[in-house]
Symmetry: C2
Subunit: 119 residues, 2 copies
DNA sequence: CCCGGACATTGATGTCTGTCAACATAGATA
DNA sequence: TATCTATGTTGACAGACATCAATGTCCGGG
């Protein structure tokens, strides 16, 4: 388990490169960024991210999120895990509840990479 | 899947909604945007997009792109098809060659949706 | 100390996807 | 027309993924 290539935060991956349209991505850069986009490339996870962001303080507990979907609790838990492992959501446990929070910097870095033609 | 929901251009999908972090995506919005992200959520396609953008005039012919990868020509053709069908690349045939071009507006819309910096 | 609720993990399953080899098509040229 | 080259299409297959039911874990209250 080579930690070195797996412990990259989204800021290190998405923010590593100049915008897509500015200069070609290297193979390695592309392979680092792709998982981030893959994590967002799911309707449920897209809604999860936007839902979490809409809650007070940009935080939501799993129970609230689970209720917003017509999916089983393990499925939601799985999606949240994906979003957390890619660094798009932060996780904090308070008592019995687990709260997820959007990592704004991560999303901003991704956006800058994709669209930042003028940035 | 009904056809009516598949004929939406990326500008109609990504540009349809306010930024992710601003207001929760509806189920339909999420299902329209996800394919766009899915199209970009592949290392090869990411590099294809950035490569195309880097060529003169933001255009590149398939032969040039194929040479840049260690993949078969049908595979590259497949990826280009995906990117074209989602509206991320424009296609134009000139003589024997086919040129692909980045649709900047599409990428910008996506970026705006994710990062919500520029509204 | 046990029980119930909140969340995660596991194992199974059906579907999607990236890839290639083989074949098809279209345009230029002799 | 015959042929070569550039590109797209098809069929097949292995690996990835979304989902659920069942089970496990952690914690607070009785």
């Amino acid at each position: 388990m080579s930690k070195s290539s797996l412990t990259l935060s989204p800021l290190q991956t998405a923010a590593c490169c100049s915008p897509l349209q500015r200069e070609p991505l290297s193979i390695e850069q592309a392979e680092q960024v792709a998982p981030l986009l893959k994590a967002m490339a799911d309707p449920v996870r897209l809604r999860l991210v936007s839902l979490v962001a809409s809650y007070a303080g940009g935080e939501a507990c799993v129970c609230e999120l689970t209720n917003a979907f017509d999916l089983s609790q393990p499925t939601i838990s799985h999606h949240l895990k994906v979003l957390h492992e890619t660094g798009l959501l932060d996780r904090s446990k308070r008592g019995v509840w687990v709260y997820y929070k959007v990592r704004t910097e991560a999303l901003d870095s991704l956006a800058a990479l994709i669209g930042g033609a003028s940035a």
